[in-house]
């Protein structure tokens, strides 16, 4: 999803094929971003099964892993992102009171 101004949050979601956890993670991520980071984010999904070398390159152990590449510092969040609070803490995002 492209934002009109340069994305403040660059997020990468690493998955390993289309598993239940991966799908759940993606869905959760979309929802959280829409709720709290509307218009400021960019999500990239990387399938490790297709790009196995990135597992080493980006130091990915667990799947699914969400990596906040921007703003720095890099933060890693593992799991299917079902715990929204922890995701926000992990991304260091101020929750928007919905």
């Amino acid at each position: 999803m492209k934002a009109r101004k340069p994305a403040a949050f660059e997020l990468r979601l690493y998955v390993a094929g289309q598993t239940a956890k991966s799908m759940a993670a993606f869905a959760n991520l979309k929802r959280i971003c829409e709720t709290h980071l509307a218009g400021q984010y960019r999500i990239e999904v990387i399938d490790l099964l297709k790009n196995p070398q990135l597992a080493a390159g980006d130091q990915i152990l667990a799947v699914p892993t969400l990596v906040r590449r921007l703003p720095e510092p890099i933060k890693k969040i593992i799991g299917d992102l079902s715990n929204e609070e922890r995701v926000l803490v992990g991304l260091d995002v101020q929750p928007v009171k919905a």
């Binding site: 490790l48 196995p52 597992a55 080493a56 990915i60 667990a62 799947v63 933060k75 299917d80």
Partner: protein, 577 residues
């Protein structure tokens, strides 16, 4: 699920001694757990397994490390003679550093470790690896919170490795005071083979030990084995040296001291036998050892000297003072001197070092001078098995060995034999050097206490060191004691003088006899002359008498004849006679 083959395949490690202990190596396609305290050498062992696999057995390997120490590993491996960088370039080894940064990770739900699997799979496929090391997988436990999930994933990982037929080594840190072998109980998953490493410090000396705690499906040696991490990597002292089946050679070799050979059945010691030279300080034990080395090199054979008290330079200097020049043999490479302080490592480590050095140099004679230093402060129970291993190993290689041993200064109360009882039963020949004190000086004596398999002298001889070398001289059995040193020399002089005196006395007596003989002969001739004279007289008298008788007879005959003639003219007269 694949069914297990009935016989267990083993992957050789190439590590000295380890393959013997495990009966062929680690289980193929399974995971082996190596656990031990910090600094025990787990990483080194795993790394050597991988490197040797790549270089000796053509099996590439992946080293997955959870700590940042690639540089350190490269340096360590380089000291063993392997170039990790080159191996990486040739795609024989792949080093993969997995960062598990607790502070970076936030766990927000369910996850699995597929990332790790994919990563490992990718690494394995990229070089066709058959061996994998995970060092140390416990880092995951400290990085991730969900231990239950982690355990499940580890189980899955090992199954995954097994399915791919990868022989893996997992390293685990020994837990402090826990009942399990490792802090997180890894041994539950890695049930096929468990090796523990131990690093004890005893009386300031550290000893490293290895033990195969478990090896499912295979017979294995269950004892603890000492090992060292040396120039050639891991060296474990294997069990084969404890089989008592070495050959006994009938060949005899000279000790270098002619009279000593004489004392040993006239030919010297047997090849492949063990000789103990024990004695109080300053009796010349090292000199015998050096002479033995010198003689061996002179024959063109290699000799190896383990010096635990003097540096090589000092040995050379001291031995040249008694006419033994070892320097040319060193130059020619026939002699090697290894010097180190016995307290530098434990007894077992020394053993492993000796073992390695002997295998590398292949000498025909090994001299250990002195062995008493190595066994300092240890009970006989500890020393004897280790020495036994060494001697058995040397005998199997048909290497003749000479050990010098320091016994307490010859006090009258302690028999030197007593102090060496434990060690001496392992030795075939035992030479005892003693100092005897008499009349203000001490001299060295040597005798053969025992020598298996040959007749040997039971006499104590004097052992003399001089510029010209080593000599053994008969002692003087004096009237009440054995004399050595200057007393011997004095006694020899006295006896020489006495002998001369006797000789002179002899001469004098002979002369006397001669003159007496002459006198008697003169007497005899005088008597003889007398006898002759008397005989002549008697003869003369007899001759005279017989002449008279004859003459008288002749006269009477003549007269009778005359009478007869005259009576024929006259009337015969009656003759009355």
């Amino acid at each position: 699920m694949t069914t297990n083959p009935p016989s267990l395949n083993k992957t050789p490690t190439g590590i000295t001694g380890l393959d013997e202990i495990t009966g062929g190596g680690l289980p193929t396609g399974r995971a082996t757990l190596i656990c031990g305290g910090p600094g025990c050498g787990k990483t080194m062992l795993a790394l050597e397994f991988l490197v040797r696999g790549a270089t000796q057995f053509r099996e590439p390997g992946v080293f997955m490390m959870f700590e940042e120490n690639a540089k350190e590993l490269t340096a360590n491996v380089r000291s063993l003679g392997f170039d990790l960088d080159k191996l990486e370039a040739k795609k024989k080894i792949l080093l993969d550093h997995v960062v598990v940064e607790r502070s970076e990770i936030e766990e927000t739900g369910e996850y699995d470790l597929d990332g790790l699997f994919i990563r490992l799979g990718y690494a394995i496929d990229s070089i066709g690896a058959k061996r994998v090391v995970l060092d140390t997988v416990e880092a995951l436990f400290s990085g991730l919170m969900d231990h239950a999930a982690l355990r499940a994933e580890l189980r899955r990982l090992f199954r995954w490795l097994k399915d791919r037929g990868i022989t893996a080594i997992i390293t685990g840190e020994r837990g402090e005071g826990t009942t399990t072998l490792t802090r997180y109980g890894l041994e539950e998953y890695v049930a096929d083979c468990v090796i523990t490493l131990d690093h004890r410090v005893d009386e300031q000396i550290s000893t490293r030990r290895l033990r195969v705690m478990k090896y499912r499906g295979s017979a294995h040696a269950t004892n603890e084995f000492p090992f060292i991490i040396g120039e050639r990597g891991f060296s474990v002292l294997p069990i084969t040296s404890l089989q008592l089946n070495h050959k006994a050679s009938p060949e005899r070799i000279t000790t270098g001291i002619a009279r000593l050979d004489e004392m040993l059945g006239d030919k010297g010691v047997y090849r492949g036998s063990s000789v103990l030279v024990s004695g109080s300080p300053g009796t010349g034990k090292s000199s015998i050892g050096a002479k033995f080395a010198d003689t061996t090199c002179r024959r063109g054979e290699r000799a190896l000297l383990f010096a635990y008290e003097e540096s090589p330079a000092q040995v050379l200097r001291n031995m040249s003072s008694i006419g033994i020049d070892l320097a040319p043999w060193l130059k020619k490479g026939l002699l090697q001197i290894h010097a180190s302080r016995p307290t530098m490592q434990g007894l077992e480590q020394h053993l492993v070092t000796m073992h390695d050095t002997v295998l590398a140099f292949r000498p025909s004679v090994v001299i250990v001078d002195p062995i008493s230093n190595l066994t300092l402060d240890r009970t006989e129970a500890e020393v004897k098995p280790t020495l036994m291993r060494l001697i058995d190993f040397l005998k199997q290689q048909q290497i003749t060995s000479l050990f010098t041993s320091l016994t307490a200064g010859g006090s009258a109360t302690e028999l030197p034999e007593d102090s060496q009882v434990g060690v001496s039963s392992l030795m075939d020949t035992w030479l005892l050097l003693r100092n005897t004190e008499f009349n203000g000086e001490r001299n060295r004596t040597i005798f053969v206490l025992k020598s298996r398999g040959m007749p040997h002298s039971n006499q104590v001889r004097e052992f003399v060191l001089s510029d010209a070398g080593i000599d053994i001289v008969d002692v003087y059995p004096g009237a009440d004691r054995v004399l050595t040193g200057t007393a011997r020399v004095a006694q020899a002089a006295t006896e020489r003088a006495a002998a001369e005196l006797r000789a002179k006395d002899h001469e004098r007596k002979l002369r006397q006899l001669a003159s007496k003989r002459k006198a008697i002969e003169a007497q005899i001739s005088a008597l003889k002359a007398q006898e002759e004279a008397e005989a002549a007289e008697v003869n003369f008298a007899i001759a005279e008498q017989s002449l008279q008788i004859r003459t008288a007879a002749q006269d009477s005959e003549a007269m009778a004849h005359l009478r007869d003639r005259t009576s024929s003219r006259e009337k015969p007269r009656k003759e009355k006679r």
